[in-house]
Each structure stands twice: as structure tokens, then as C-alpha cells.
Symmetry: C2
Subunit: 219 residues, 2 copies
């Protein structure tokens, strides 16, 4: 069925196994032998794809970055209102962090600058938030006089914090927690010029419990 | 001059040296020999105080917890308005994270649950935020109908995120960044019942640039 070459399949399996290993044991204790065994291949096959543990970690982070990018693009495509798109993107990302081990491990590795050689996920998220707030401002959807940069920073801080806090207590990334965050934030952002008040509980069309929710949204 | 016994002085020097070593190299790469050398003592002296690297890390976290507790108590003592006390506490903590290596390393270690054996600093901070919001609610200082628990979670998320983001870019913990956070948050919280609007830029009486600002406040 699949046209994906075997080599690409193996690489994806290694990335997933690495994410599971990093997620369970942390980067310093993760062993390359456990990563290759988890992917059902030899350590030789692992070394064909990745020179070092740092290279595997960078690949996990790149995959998490790709998921972030795809999610944001898909939500924007489906949701013309930029404030609603911002709300919906946070919900989709929270669900991916909660359910997809590659996204979760990618963000966590990305937090440990000693190991990071790939993309800066939080900086990319900050850019995404600023772009959506800029579009909202152009459409006169924001509270008049709002300091959009400060609001963007507060929101990036809060979402980053929720991700970090969820490592100890998964309740920080449940739909109700993210909805609560938006019930707090939307009154700061949404002005009287909006045709309708954004819905803090996120996307209505997304099927629940699927790891790649953003991809599912466009099917 | 000091009446502190030599043993307690050595222990404090070891905690500070450990914090510097963890801050610079991360926990996994930190060597006990570097920690004892940084404190100007032998590794034997280190082992007199701490059995393992995890025990040194726990002591750094305990010291950071003590600083958090003292700061919060001092600010409350000086600031009767609970919302202003909340604002001022975040400013004092941000300055401590930016300037005091023991506080910074303590929070960072505390984020890595694999190594944590001491206090949960973020849970303690959450309790502190909830207590101050409860007091504000009792005094009718909050926006009517505010979901204080959700606001507390949003604020704990944002402050946690600022701390994590500052590891890559110190600008997240500057006074102006924390002031911007409060310019975003205060309109959510502060209701018309307040005798005066809280000041987002934090405490007026704190001398700048001192590592232990909370202690300085009471002098």
C-alpha cells in the first residue's frame, strides 16, 4: 500500500522510538541501543540514519516543528477569524502535546539548550502568535489601544508554562484547562469590533483523541 | 564577625558552587569535583555534607524554596493590597531568578522531575498566587464574576513560561517584561471596587540590582 521507501519508514520508526525513550528516561539516560530496539532495527541501522544521540534528538525536534507548522497552517486555513484561529491552534497543540509522544519529546528536548541543535520551537510559536494578533489588529478585532506585543508575550509565556507544568501533572493540558486559559485571555484581546466573540473551547470540527489532530482536520 | 559555624558556612558555599555548576553545565554533566573546587574545599568535605549529587541538587532546590517563601512573606508584610502584593512578588522573584544563581538553578533543577527529590516550587508558587487572589476576592478587589482559579492558573502558567523562556533569552525576566505581563493581566483581575489601581511596574521601595531583594526590602 505505502509508497514510502523502506529507509524512510525506518527513519520514522527510529524518530518515534527515540521520542518514547527520551520521554520515558530523559535525554541523558536514553540509550541508542534502546532506541534501535524500540524501532525493531539494529544499532547499525540506527547509525546509517543518525551519527549521534544529538542527531536523533534534533530529528525529533524537527518533526515536532513540522507538526507545529502544519497545525498552525491547517487551523488558519479552516478558521478565517484570526483570534479564533489563535484559540484553536492552542487547543490542537495542547492535544498533540498530550497524545503525541514525538511532539511532547520534541518540545521537552527543545527546552534543554545544551542538547538543542535544531529549530527553536518556542520562538516559532511566538512568531505564529504575533502574526495572528497582527491580522486581528488589521481587522479591528482587538481591544482599542491594546499593546499587542505585551499580550503576545503573556500568551506565549502562559502556553509555554502550561506545557512545562503538564510534565508533572497532565491536567494542565486538558481541553478544560486550555479553555480556562482562554476564558481569562479573550477578554483582554477581543474588542467590540469583532463580528462574533471567539469561542474559548476551541475547534468544533476536530475529532477527539487522535494524535495528529491537525492533519485529521483537513480530511 | 560572623557567628555562623564553619560547617554551615562550608555547606552554604557548596550549595552556591553547586548552583553555579548546574547553571553552567546542566545537572547531568556537573561534576562533584568541580562543585567542591568551586567552594574551595576537598571532595571529602563535600561528602561530609552531601551523600550524592542528587542530595546537593535537593539542597539547592530547598534554598530556592526558602527564598520564594521569604520573598512572598516579606512582600505581603509590606503591601496590604493583595493584588499589589501579587504584582510585587512576581517582580521580586523575577529579579531573584535573573540575579541569584541559587534561585535560578533551584527552579531549573525543579523542572527536571527525574532529579527532583525536594519541594515542588511551582506548586508552592501556585498556592501563593491562589492565597493572594482569595484575599483580593474577600476584599472585593476582583472583577465581579471572575473565575479566580482559572486566572490563577493562567498567571502561574505565564510566570512559569517566562522563567523557562528566560533560559534562552534573559529579556523575558527584565522589569519591563514583567511590567508588560502585568499590564496584560491586571485588567482581567482588578475590579472597580479597588481603592486604587495596582501598579504593574512592581515595588517602589526595592533597591535595584541586589540578589536578595526581598531581604533588602525589610531593612
Amino acid at each position: 500500500m505505502s509508497r514510502q521507501p523502506r529507509s524512510a519508514q525506518t527513519r520514522r520508526a527510529l524518530i518515534r522510538s527515540a521520542a518514547q525513550t527520551f520521554d520515558e528516561h530523559g535525554y541523558p539516560r536514553a540509550k541508542l541501543s534502546a532506541i534501535s530496539a524500540g524501532a525493531g532495527v539494529s544499532t547499525g541501522a540506527l547509525h546509517f540514519h543518525f551519527d549521534t544521540k544529538a542527531a536523533v534528538a534534533a530529528a525529533v525536534e524537527e518533526e515536532a516543528a513540522r507538526t507545529l507548522h502544519e497545525s498552525a497552517r491547517t487551523v488558519r486555513h479552516l478558521t478565517p477569524d484570526p483570534l479564533q484561529a489563535l484559540v484553536d491552534t492552542t487547543h490542537v497543540l495542547a492535544r498533540q502535546l498530550a497524545t503525541d509522544v514525538v511532539t511532547r519529546a520534541g518540545y521537552r528536548l527543545n527546552c534543554q539548550s545544551a542538547h538543542r541543535s535544531g529549530p527553536d520551537l518556542r520562538a516559532r510559536w511566538h512568531v505564529c502568535v504575533c502574526e495572528l494578533l497582527d491580522r486581528a489588529e488589521e481587522q479591528n478585532l482587538l481591544v482599542p489601544g491594546l499593546a499587542a506585543e505585551e499580550s503576545a508575550a503573556a500568551l506565549v509565556g502562559a502556553t509555554t508554562g502550561f506545557e512545562v507544568l503538564a510534565r508533572e501533572d497532565a491536567a494542565w493540558l486538558t481541553p478544560s484547562a486550555v479553555t480556562g486559559l482562554w476564558r481569562s485571555f479573550l477578554p483582554i484581546l477581543a474588542g467590540p469590533g469583532a463580528p462574533q466573540t471567539p469561542e474559548p473551547s476551541g475547534p468544533r470540527t476536530a475529532p477527539r483523541g487522535r494524535p495528529r489532530a491537525a492533519s485529521a482536520l483537513v480530511r
